[in-house]
Symmetry: D2
Subunit: 341 residues, 4 copies
């Protein structure tokens, strides 16, 4: 249920609404200050008479039940698109935001050269893995703290903000000191203690879709973060597990318009992990942009053949430049999806 | 294995190659006349010494083993893109071909008005179902022959060639008298007697991807048709079965660049059946075009709420017009995928 | 909707019920003579007042709406288990029926020796493919009519009735002359012209689950056959397509109790095609029996290494004998599932 | 690669083998003391000449490369079945071990009565969730520490050892003080920091299959725990995500014989979470036992209609008793799978 305050409502009205909600054991009020109006989300199982109670309070304009299991993540709760702002980068607006860089941070030379190359081509966020989720315990699991330091160095050199994955609740504080955006990977989409922790961090968070997650479970993962009071959340479609094994995963391109309809959160796509093959990255990236994605997460490496991780799906600097030219061309002609029949 | 004839080879050279191949029991020679060269496909299990034998024949320029289980459908067999030509419509060239119309033919007024509307908006092929595959025996199964006649009427009125589904081997002759393109539906992708029959019909054939078919099995379905000597074959990605149930199927957008890499056959996409929801059709259609699709198959109905079949996924004339404007815009900026790293 | 006749109802009462139903355009009456009562299924979209009309007729005991999209296949329509009877073999009773034999008929020696061996081990139906659905057009597609003749020879030799696949509507008459049970394969589960034809044949029919078919679509495939007036229908779980590629398909063992709850039709399982590996056949067969399957379809070959088709998943005579001993042991201790909490 | 020591090898021989392995940077030696022989696993990327080096050392009987990406979990590394011993309970032997109890711990009365009932019916391990992974942040997330205390109370009352889920690395120490077996849930199968932590705990660990995990990734999750020196690991098939939505998940019964072939680790099954419906639990449980499972994890509740979690799939005491009778009957007749053709 959400309580919409009237335009002329006062701070006291708002305080009373919150007080009345939280007087019910198990309920929590989450206040959202929108551009045009203030909205209060009621979290928890709503007692039958609360709606009427709320409607009678001063300063309340409207009380709307939310039928979806996710509340704060729903379009009903927040009819306009949310924007996540990282320095001068706005995710969720008309311009697609391209986040690019190597799968894993390997050394200074690799990071700096890649950061410069992706910036020159038009990327505005730098990605790079310091803590790597690896299927085998014997694979390279990332440089850890040293990797974070190299990311910071690349940021200082180029001005690009950093997105990097955090895998354990205990690492959130450390990673948050270096990263501008915390990434929750597909394997951790339902790692609830991690979601709680990144929720508390106050940092922007990108939640990749679990490889077996229906839309509703994905939005509920976002709800975990939102329910901790962190509204800087974005989603990333990165391919789901299916029977087709020629590609690593199946990028579900319809997820982009679906999420835009169900939710106000920005939605990006990762054409690298979903396809697993460099020559499929550009066409799938363009598909995502054409379908309305707010951005892309793309793996780029100075020398993919020597990459410690995910070489086959990494773009060279040149191919990334070509991709960017086409992304710009498609983005320049796209329009918003129709909202009514 | 394929035998590439040299440019100055004679008819007799070709005949001898064919004779020698078919002297092996179980082998068949399939001759393909390309723009620049003549190629002979060797179908069946190739004996170890055949390659050397062939290389010694007059007029043979090169003998190339094909590693894939599909031969005639493979890019190795036919390095250039194939084009399927239906009157003035070319499928497989740079211009995307839009095939549009109602799920099922219902009456004259519906067919004529829809044909005019989709033509006006830029569609160049008319779709409409006369024989409908229906999950329940109690659903409307199409108008049959009467539906074919209405399709023909709409063709005469607008000049648009017709694509329609054929479901039974025994119906192929009848449908082929009315249709310009025979469609094999997802449920029949491995209906081998039907594939044989449409192969023998000599008509252009569109093979929709089976809802549980990996790329290889889909290309092998095309191989059935090609192996009957019918090279007018195109493919259509229409969504695969997965765990996500918000959409009817999951459109696998990566299928488009994958098929273009593995095969020379034109590849289209069906955003209507895959999503099952009209408001997802345009973004998914644009995604397919941006990813390089040679065309689209889209359901359009004068009044979707009254449609006998698939109303929720049908576009109104107005929404189809909007989609076409955006399709043209995206198509105008797209480029071919890079072919080398 | 179903109309249950009272015990003392007359032929005339029944005729009047049928007449009144079919007086509605689009409706069909299907009469089912059960052991204890006569039931009339109303097929088609039922008008709102028909229920009341029927209840007022003489000889009608009860009128029950059926909520499922499948009617004749539903447990509501026919509360007792159906039995399919083939000579002395009863499918759907307490004893599991084992159908065994080679993937494809190859020659007389192979068929006769296999038929004798599987009979000696306890199989009561002989399987063998004469028309083979093959993913590649270049694979062995079966011996056709010659294969059917060899099957008949093996039947005459051993007395075992025959189950074999039919793939094309035009082949149904021919196959029905040789086979005791017509098998509809997974690739043809939604080949509706084939379903119509086997429905009309009057022969017992086994419908394998489509590899991407939810339970409801599978039961609707059975409904196609039942709606033609053929009530000798059984189902076979043979594995569904999923992401796990170590096995060919994923046998969905829960399908067995689910089908028994939703439907009255006998349900068997095929441990050979689902696993694709001989060493998994016995444990999966035992699982199916323990879960309540009415029978099994198992591939057995005198020399699996030389089989023209599906060798890796075929059991030797010895392994089949071992499997049968264990199947008997598990079957002897199993009970029916509880029907109420 | 594994190094098998000869029967008369000394401690010094073993020490030298270990020293030589670890002299290579990136390699680790893991010693396993089997009943008949001592085996040393070489973890990491093995240099080409190491095999020969090892074969020349004193006390080495054989050096065997392991082709699988998982090493310590592979049947090659440990040809006999592993057994996990918890007090008097042996998991991995001929007797199936039944672990039963409520989805979540709710109160003392519920835990004690359930513990007594499942013990009386033949269960030998008590399950119960104190930390619950919930798709929605607004669902009951378990009693936490208070739940652990109630589990301990029930253990003291009945003598049944406890299995309970641990979700966060930071909770492992606490949970390990109360639990006899730590359960890693399906959503955390690739939560690598959690796997490391339960590996270090020294406690027996049960790893549920990730809902989108192929066998290989599941065994690699076990490898994470084994590689920390904890060899008390067992696996649990609990259903995978597929297109069928009538059941919550699809229990892959073939996983049981597959895991027994690829690995030496005990394999159990969870018929409750996979089916999501109480009336499917018994047949699926019997299927798992017939297929060779070493045990079951079953949800039982004194009053399923009032359960705070997973009521629809919980068995009553009476139905659990019936299930146990049938489990015993099937277990009494099953044999081991054949190991050779």
């Amino acid at each position: 249920m959400i309580v919409v305050m009237s335009k002329d409502s006062t701070e006291e009205n708002l305080e009373e609404v919150r007080r009345r909600i939280e007087a019910n054991s198990g309920l929590k009020a989450q206040v959202f200050h929108g551009v045009e109006r203030i909205v209060v989300g009621v979290l928890g199982t709503v007692p039958p008479d609360l709606k009427e109670q709320m409607e009678l309070l001063l300063g309340v304009s409207e009380v709307v039940p939310i039928s979806k299991p996710y509340k704060l993540a729903s379009r009903e709760f927040h009819p306009d698109n949310s924007k996540v702002v990282v320095g001068s980068v706005v995710i969720g607006g008309p311009e697609p935001v391209i986040m690019a860089g190597p799968c894993s941070v390997e050394d200074e030379e690799q990071m700096i050269s890649t950061a410069r190359a992706v910036k020159a081509a038009g990327a505005t966020v730098l990605r790079g893995g310091a803590f790597k989720p690896r299927t085998s315990p014997y694979s390279f699991r990332g440089m850890g703290l040293d990797g974070l330091k190299l990311l910071k160095m690349a940021k200082e050199e180029t001005g690009l903000p950093i997105i990097t994955e955090v895998m354990a609740p205990g690492d959130v504080d450390t990673v948050a000191q270096y990263a501008d955006i915390l990434q929750v990977g597909t394997r951790n989409m339902q790692n609830y203690s991690l979601l709680d922790e990144v929720g508390d961090s106050g940092k922007p968070v990108m939640i990749k879709r679990g490889m077996a997650a229906p839309y509703e479970e994905w939005l509920l993962a976002a709800e975990y973060v939102l329910a901790r009071g962190n509204d800087q959340v974005m989603l990333c479609e990165r391919g789901i597990r299916g029977f087709e094994q020629f590609t690593r995963f199946t990028l579900d391109v319809a997820a982009i318009p679906v999420i835009k309809r169900l939710s106000h959160l920005p939605i990006l796509a990762d054409p690298s992990h979903s396809t697993g093959k460099w020559y499929l990255v550009t066409p799938v990236a363009l598909a995502a942009i054409a379908a309305g994605a707010h951005g892309l997460l793309v793996e780029v490496h100075p020398n993919p053949d020597l990459a410690l991780c995910d070489g086959p799906q990494s773009l060279t600097f040149e191919n990334f430049g070509n991709m960017m030219n086409q992304v710009r061309a498609v983005a320049s002609v796209r329009q918003d999806a129709p909202v009514a029949r």
